[in-house]
Every structure is written in C-alpha cells, then in structure tokens.
Symmetry: C2
Subunit: 427 residues, 2 copies
C-alpha cells in the first residue's frame, strides 16, 4: 500500500466518530420528499468547512420541464435546494463526480419500526434510521473520503464535484438539474447501497399508474355492479405474468445472482370508498424495471401492449379500457463497459484496500446513474456501503464499518483516477 493511502486510512481510522456523528445528524433529519432542506443544510455546512466551492440552488421547475427526460409531479421545489460542492484540482487530471441523493422514501407503517424511524441510534455497530442505507451512509463515505484527502494534504490533479441532490427517489430531477446546469466530469461514482459490490450496469425503471373502472352497486346486490377491485386483480396478475416473460429474456451473467433482474413492483392500490358499495374505480401504482440495454420507450410499449391484451380479453374492460399514466419517477438504465478504465481503477482500489477481488454485478435497481450517463455522457459506476434489503424497509440500518471501508476505497479511487499533484504523487 502506498504512503498516501496509508495516510488516508489512518485519518479515517482516527475520525470514525466524526463520520458517525455526521451520519447520525443526517439520518435524524427527515428528508422525505419536500423536506430535504434541513439535511441539505448539514451537507452545506460540512462542505463550507472543507473549503469547497458551493453552488446551492432551487430547481426551476418551468425550465427543467422543457427537457424530455424530466419527469416529476412535484410542483414546488422552493426551499429545498440542490447542492454541488467543487474541490478544484491542480490541473492535468481526470475529474470525478461523486453523487449522492439526500431524499429518502417514506417510513411506511411506523409500528413496524422498533425505534423512531429517524432515531439514528446505534446498536452492534449498526446505525438505524430511514435513509441510513439509502443513501446517507454513501454520502458520508464520499464526504469522509474528500475530507481525508484534504486533511492529509493530498492534492489531486482532477476536480472533485461532490453533489447532494434531491428527487432521486422520484425520478432524478435533482441530478438532471446538475447536468443541465453544466456539471460534467470524466467519470462518476454513485455510492448507492451495493454492499461494496461494483455495479457497471444499472436497471432503469419507471413508475406507472393504472386506472381501472368498475360499475358501482349496492354491496347487497353486488352482482349488479362490476367490482373495480376484481378487475384490478386481473391487471395485477397479468403484470405478474409480464414480469416473468420479460425476465426470462435476460441472459446477462452479471444478473446470475439476482432472482428477478427487472421486477415489476405493485407499490400501491386504492379502490372504493364504502364497505357496502361495489367500488367503481381502482388505481394501481407501481414500478417497472428496465433492462440496461433496453430503452424506456420499448419497456413502456411492451407493458401497454400487455394491458391492451387484457382489455381485449374482457368484455367490461373492452368497453371501459384501462388508463395508463407514466407519472413521477423515471430512471434511465445505465450501462458502462466492463472494461472501462473507471471499473479497472475502482476494482484495483477495492483490492488494494480490502485484499480480495470485488464482486461485479448488475444493479437490481435504478439510480441517477442513467441520467449522468445517458444525458450527461458521463461514465458512471455504482458502488457504496449498505445492503439493498435494508433500503426502503422498516428498521433500515447500515453497518458503520462498511461506510468507512467504502470511504477508503473511494479515496483510493479518486487518487488513482484524478491523479495526485503534490510530492506524494505516487499513483
């Protein structure tokens, strides 16, 4: 291991408590959609202390809406800014974007949580709370990596662009706004919870809303009506079959350990307003995964065809067709060549820090990486601490040691990728 890397490792070792406190502070701020400002304030203050150049701005919805890849049903971005903090390099090196999202998904049923969803409490080396894994842990890994370089006096040649974005969980308007604002780099790392695996390919995904009509009737003569719930079940079952068909087509070995590479998730159903009336409308909301090599449009088309087939096979639905709306979140799939130098640099850094070879897999979910790569033409790799099974769940947690390990690997990657400018420039 190089001298610089030893310095970084040592600094991180000595500053674990500092990192833990930062993560705890971030988790304790509920940054669900529309409430991102207080967590962003912590990020801003941290970057200010690190002497980074700060760009803090509220998304201009009217401006962003003009872009074909913009998708959001959020009307108001006021008070909840995007943040980019730049650490200028000495010149002559490759630049890197380090991108984390600050928004977290809702907590779900509170009774399923052992403690308050925003407690940030620590037990057995695990820090608990909504957003700990997805992905404030990753963001802290980035900030610690940057700080370790600064504090050990290691100056890089290339620029570091740290981004703390909003709206990742709802379609990526935050990251899209950074690209449209002009932030580009020669490579990017997004530390979503890969459990320290390297994900060169990322599933894309889209949200959908399906509206189903029924015919109301008194529950006592329910046979006089048409239950929108029963029709919704037909739709759900057809989507389950579609999921199977789509996944049977995927042969990429990067997916060999993933049971359903591109799932269709039914996340919400709402129907009816009275126990003893036959419900006359139902709404389903969900998310369809898009394969790395597939386009958003092709996946949409396939699902729309599936719904048309259901309608044709059912007299009621033929007369009262399903309505589909591709609303809210949309994540472009990402795809970077396995042999890309960013993958090499990251893999080598992993081996240097951990000792063995990293696992390289396809991502089982979408990230903002699709926007960076497809819109920004920036090579992106997803690599971070935390495990997928903890994300979006009750009692979400992250192993703190993984955060520090990720931090070391990312610091090492930055040195190798951007180059080191000072006398310790032995990469």
């Amino acid at each position: 291991m190089t001298e610089n890397m030893n310095l970084v490792k040592q600094w991180i070792l000595e500053n674990k408590e500092k990192g833990t406190k930062l993560l705890q502070a971030l988790v304790r701020e509920n940054s669900t959609r529309g409430n991102e400002s207080s967590a962003q304030a912590i990020i801003i203050e941290k970057c200010r202390q690190l002497g980074m150049e700060l760009d803090i701005w509220e998304i201009d919805e009217e401006e962003l809406r003009k872009h074909p890849s913009y998708c959001s049903d959020r009307e108001n971005f006021e008070g909840n800014p995007n943040v980019v903090a730049v650490l200028k390099g000495a010149g002559g090196g490759r630049s890197i974007i380090l991108n984390g999202h600050i928004d977290v998904v809702p907590t779900g049923d509170h009774t399923s949580w052992v403690k308050d969803p925003f407690s940030g409490h620590i037990e057995d080396g695990k820090l608990y709370g909504r957003g700990s894994t997805d992905m404030k842990g990753g963001t802290v890994a980035l900030l610690l990596a940057i700080e370790s370089l600064i504090k050990t006096g290691i100056r890089l040649r290339g620029d570091i662009l740290f981004q703390s974005v909003i709206e990742e969980e709802s379609g990526g308007a935050g990251t899209l706004a950074t690209v449209l604002r002009g932030y580009k780099a020669d490579g990017a790392i997004i530390p979503e919870p890969t459990n320290l695996k390297i994900f060169p390919k990322q599933q894309g995904s889209m949200w959908f809303r399906i509206r189903i009509k029924g015919k109301s009737a008194h529950g006592g003569t329910r046979y006089e009506g048409v239950s929108a719930i029963e029709k919704a079940i037909m739709v759900i079952e057809a989507l389950q079959e579609l999921e199977q068909t789509r996944n049977n087509k995927i042969k990429d070995p990067l997916y060999k350990n993933i049971s359903i590479p591109i799932p269709i998730n039914i996340g919400k159903i709402n129907s009816g307003e009275w126990p003893s009336s036959v419900p006359d409308t139902a709404t389903i909301e969900g998310r369809i995964g898009v394969a790395p090599e597939e386009t958003i449009e092709a996946a949409q088309k396939e699902m729309e065809n599936c719904l048309q087939i259901i309608c044709k096979g059912d007299k009621w639905l033929e007369a009262n067709p399903l309505e589909i709306d591709w609303f809210g979140g949309r994540w472009l799939p990402g795809n970077i060549d396995n042999q890309h130098s960013l993958i090499h640099v990251l893999s080598n850094s992993f081996t240097e820090v951990i000792g063995n070879k990293p696992i390289i897999e396809a991502s089982p979910w979408g990230t903002d990486g699709g926007i960076l790569s497809k819109i920004g033409n920036i090579p992106v790799v997803i690599f971070g601490p935390g495990i997928t099974t903890a994300a979006h769940e009750a009692n979400e947690y992250i192993h703190l040691e993984d955060v520090f390990r990720a931090s070391e690997i990312i610091a090492c990657t930055m040195m190798k990728w951007c180059g080191v400018a000072d006398k310790r420039g032995d990469f």
Copy 2:
C-alpha cells in the same frame, strides 16, 4: 275500491307535482353521513305543516354506546338530528311505524355521473340524484300517504309514527335510538327500494376491516419483501370462496330470483404509499351478508374461521396473522312470518291498488328492519318504490310514478291496519 281509497287516490293524483317538488328538494340536499341536517330540516317543516307531534333529538352517543347492538364509528352526532313525527289515532286501532332513512351513501366517482349527483333533475318521468331511490323516494311516498289521509279527512284509529332517521347506511344507530327512546308499534313498514315487491325477510349484514401485514423492500428487489397486496389478493380470493360456500347452503324459495342471496362485498382496499416500495400493510373493508335465520355471531365466526385457515396455509400469514375488525355498520337480519297479518294487509292493499298479486321475495340487502324486529320486537315488512340496481350507483334515479303507486298502497295499508275512525270507516 272503497270510497276512502278513491278519495286518497284522487288526492295523490292531484298532488303529484307537490310530491315531486318535495322529493326534488330532499335530493338536492346532500345528506351523506354527517351532513343530514338540511334534509332533515325539510322533513321537519313538512311534518310541522301536517300538524304532527314532532320529536327532534340528537343521538347521545355515550348513552347509545351501552347497547350491545349499537355499532358506529361516528363520534359526533351534533347538529344532525333524528326525527319522529306522530299522528295520534282516535284509539282502538293498531299502530304503525313508517320508517325512512335520510342519510345517503357517498357519490363515488363524479365523472360517472351524467349530471351533478345532487341535481334532482327529471327526465322521462325519472328523478335523478344520490338518494332518490335509497331512499328519499320511499320517504316521500310515506309523507304523501300520511298527507293524503289528513287532507281527505280520514282519521285512523291507530297511531302513525313517521320516522326520518340518520345512520342507516352505517349500521342503524338512528333507528336503534328511536327504539331505545321508546318508540314502538304493532307493525312497521320501511319503504326501501324493493321495486314494489314485498320483502318479509331481510338479509342482515356487517362491515369488516381486515388488516394484512407485508414486509417492505425496495421495488427493485421486491423478492426481498413480502407484498401486502399479494397477500390481500389471497384473502379476497378466499372470501370469494367463502361467499360461494355460504350461498350454496341457502335453499329458501324466497331467494330463487336472487343470484347471490348473501353476498360478501369487498368495498375498499388501500395498500402502499410508494410505487417503488413493496407495500407492508394492506387494509380491506367490506360487507358480509347474514341470512335471515342466521345470527350475526354465527356469520362472524364462520368468516373468522375462514381467515384462520388462510393464515395456517401460509407461512408468512401464520407468523403475521390477519387482523379482523367488525367495525361501523351492522344490520340485524329481519324475519317475519309469511302468514303474518301485516303481510296479508299489505298484499291485499297492493292487489286493491294495482290489480294483480304482489311478488313476495327475500330482501337482497340489510335494512333497519332487523333493529325494529330484533330489538324492538316490532313486526316489519320492507316495501317501497325504486330499484336496487339504482341504489348506491352513479346516476341513481327513481320512477316518480312508482313513488305515487307506493304512496297509494301504503295509505291503503294504513287504513286497513290501523282502522278508520270517522264515518268513512268502511275498512
């Protein structure tokens, strides 16, 4: 036809416009749950004009709650009174309760309505609007019948107790309150929309709420979670089977024209809060029909057993059992002997007014009749204008002529049942 009946028929013929306007005014008042007062005000004013003794009171929830058959999740009855108006008889005759509910079910999806749900507009002899059939049309039939007797100078021997109650659609707290306040009679007619058929037996019913647990996960790795929606579908399918089993047992010939005598209706489902999360809770609300000879307790037990069997057959549900809550509405089944004199009197009146014999069937839905008969020990028959298929539906309507026909038959029944006191006492 008797002289008295001719006078009544003639009066109703001449006052159709008056009756229509009264119904229109009632339908134009949105009297969904919690909003009953303005429609009740019209009823009160009408009874006052007719010189009836008025009893107008707000339900004392704390008092009523002590009764074992009280079931309501309504906390506030303030400002929305129950109304009983009494027309004292000359004495020596049988008394009769004429009971109508003023509350209406919600309108459902507004876009399914051709006109405003509370328009009260008339087209081709039909008056449209929420509550027109269920059951303001029936209530107007009662009021016209009473008025026809008063205005033609026919005095009855027995008392007439006209009741305009709240909460029928939510479990009958309004009618229960009349019984507990001491209102009893020798017989009762409830003009729910039977399409002028006579219903001696009424299905009872109860509402239920089933809570289903799942396990949250990111939609991209949905296989790591347990979808509460998928488990809810299992429950719905089991309830569909239970419905079949229960209905196969019913052999009563009064049900021969009813395709599902005691339906289980799934009226509501709500699950999930995020399209790309696996939903960790689902709630189903519905209504189970109770056979006229069955007890509420037996039906509950059968359904609870069914849910236990589902749980035993599923590892997840065994560890995370379904929760069932018998909330809100509960309607006792009603059952009066086919040979009861009230049925005879009503049948004969029907034949006298219409010419042919009435159809006698079992009611496909629950009414407040169960409370009057089971709690008040009052023989009850359900008979009124309007058709079930229009109730609880978009574009609910009633044929105005049926209202007037029902009114004549009910007036005739009152004369036969209560006896006529004056010189025209030829019944």
